[in-house]
């Protein structure tokens, strides 16, 4: 796995992402500065990590989405390369137009930072092939702007084409509860049309070591490893 983690001013989960990638693959990912205009040659996975790029000024992810490296990330995605955006990275992918919809302020206006159950909605993706369909995993969330919205046609298309990767749920997998942020259909993560781009608000990279209370996030990085080895 040749991974690159993009560092924006204000990113703060890049080391967590790098560690999860290292644990899953045994290989050290490159850390790429947002001002660069090219990815390292042979990059097969780009990770946009969590944090508060540009202090969330203007809109979360808006300024980072216009940084020089994003041209290369877009080209990588268009070639079919894998892109994972976590939390602020998801916001950046949305602002860059690589994923549809928008992420608004949480419905209750509160920053939520806690453990959260997710239901894996599909295993047919490079990011979820090591989970089982309907599996409930527990990872953590930490965001103030994770309220996913999109127009009716877009939501219908995402649902119809199986492009919802994860939903917020309770321990039994029930997704009908209030959820942490008000997202439509309890959406926690979505794929691009070709499923090579995943954006998600929760942090799988923080649950990859039993020392910190669970390893449910490890499956995502193992899935990427499997997809790239295939």
């Amino acid at each position: 796995m040749k991974a690159a983690v993009v560092l924006f001013p204000g990113s703060n989960r890049e080391r967590d992402a790098a560690r999860a990638l290292r644990l899953a693959s045994g290989q050290e990912p490159a850390i790429v500065w947002h001002g660069d205009s090219e990815l390292p040659a042979g990059t097969d996975l780009v990770v946009l990590p969590g944090g508060f790029s540009y202090g969330d000024y203007l809109r979360c992810g808006a300024i980072a989405a216009r940084s020089p490296i994003m041209g290369a990330v877009r080209a990588h995605a268009e070639r079919g390369g894998l892109v994972l955006g976590i939390c602020n990275g998801f916001q950046i992918l949305i602002e860059a137009g690589l994923l549809p919809g928008a992420l608004l302020r949480n419905e209750n206006l509160k920053f939520v930072c806690r453990a959260q159950h997710l239901r894996v909605e599909t295993t047919e993706s490079p990011f979820t092939n090591q989970y089982s369909k309907g599996q409930v995993i527990e990872v953590c969330i930490a965001h103030g702007d994770g309220n996913y919205v999109a127009d009716r046609e877009t939501v219908a298309r995402l649902e119809g084409e199986g492009l919802v990767g994860f939903r917020y749920c309770d321990a039994s997998g029930d997704v009908s509860g209030p959820g942490p942020n008000g997202s439509v259909n309890a959406i926690a993560g979505i794929f691009s049309q070709k499923r090579n781009v995943l954006g998600m608000m929760p942090h799988p990279e923080n649950l990859v070591d039993p020392l910190v209370g669970g390893t449910d996030g490890a499956g995502l990085f193992a899935s990427v490893g499997r997809a790239l080895a295939a």
Binding site: R66, E95, A102, L104, N106, E107, A150
Partner: protein, 80 residues
Amino acid sequence: MKARVTVTLKNSVLDPQGKAIEGALKSLGFDGVGSVRQGKVFDIELAGSDRAAAETALKGMCEKLLANTVIESYRVDIAE
């Protein structure tokens, strides 16, 4: 030239901050507040005096950065 760009959430998009402000105004005793929508204002100084060119440039700024047109609409006003 001076211009003001106003960006607001589209009416179809829920505005939890506006709702909270609306509630606070009501609790302060301001009766008759129907609803509140929060937005952003950008005051921009531009070189040159060509209004048409300025308007084109400002619209470009809105489309590319200042507004997220998925959820927001914008208005451009150029000062006389």
